[in-house]
């Protein structure tokens, strides 16, 4: 049965608090990116079909950006979303692939993205840990 949730609902409160906790624990990198992706539909489930759909649309954008040698924020964001989707789907090869692309491309970027190299490198060095966190978050959100 569909739950009737409003902004004062304790589940919403806990969900937001959890996301805030994720942000605090893992920093802007994971938290700030997971929030818009994971919380896109706050009442939705992070199921595989939805994640695959998100991955398909963003990988298309990312590939186009890569092949036209773009290093702007939109390109890097698409790459990052792809990496997160792969993590949420538990696909380590995909995580490595997109993190490699992000680490390569961010160095030519400007602004905040130019400083994101340590983040991509962290994922490349800890892909299993990154996936473990992502999948744990997914399961938690899906149970809320």
């Amino acid at each position: 049965m569909q739950k009737n949730l409003d902004s004062s609902d304790p589940q919403i409160f806990l969900k937001d608090a959890y996301a805030e906790g994720v942000t605090l624990k893992l920093g802007d990198f994971l938290g700030a990116v997971l929030r818009p992706v994971v919380m896109f539909e706050s009442r939705g489930k992070l199921d595989s079909p939805r994640l695959h759909e998100l991955l398909a649309s963003n990988s298309s954008v990312a590939l186009e950006a890569i092949l036209t040698n773009r290093t702007d924020g939109a390109a890097l964001l698409a790459i990052r979303v792809c990496m997160i989707c792969c993590a949420l789907l538990g696909e380590e090869v995909g995580v490595r692939r997109w993190a490699t692309e992000g680490a390569t491309r961010c160095q030519a970027g400007d602004g905040v993205w130019a400083r994101s190299l340590p983040e991509w490198n962290w994922v490349l060095e800890n892909p299993a840990r990154y996936i473990r966190h992502a999948v744990a978050i997914k399961h938690s959100f899906n149970q809320l």
Partner: protein, 140 residues
């Protein structure tokens, strides 16, 4: 019959070795494999390929920046390029008629026969004055 010279650039040695073997078995291609993307342009100047098969996501220098370098080189800009990637699926490629940013793109893993068909088709198009990556970059 003159064999067509194919340069394969991919960071996975197992992939380039296998692809090289499969192409050479067709007896129509002379193949050079390169696993360092940053060496692609230099290798292309030496090998003078008729076509380049280029992976998209590689450490160090990715396919996008290699394409830009090729397009900036007067001697290499006319060489047609086929892109390989595991970042998109066949389904997505079908929706784009197998073309991204003006280049034919094949999804990995790829069957040797499919790659050979694409190589021959792309070489044929290039011989007929088809678009090359240099044109896509607006250099002509």
């Amino acid at each position: 019959m003159n064999k067509k010279r194919i340069l394969i650039v991919d960071d996975e040695p197992s992939f380039t070795t296998l692809t090289r073997m499969n192409l050479e078995r067709a007896n129509r291609f002379e193949v050079w494999a390169e696993n360092q993307s940053s060496a692609c342009v230099a290798q292309a100047r030496i090998f003078q390929p008729d076509l380049i098969v280029l992976d998209v996501v590689m450490p160090g220098q990715d396919g996008g920046s290699v394409l830009a370098e090729l397009a900036a080189d007067e001697t290499l800009r006319k060489i047609p390029v086929i892109l390989l990637t595991a970042t998109v699926t066949d389904k997505i490629l079908q929706g784009r008629q197998g073309v991204f940013a003006g280049h034919p793109v094949l999804a990995k893993p790829i069957e040797p026969a499919k790659l050979i068909r694409q190589i021959e088709e792309t070489l044929k198009q290039a011989a007929n004055g088809g678009a090359t990556h240099a044109k896509k970059f607006g250099l002509f």
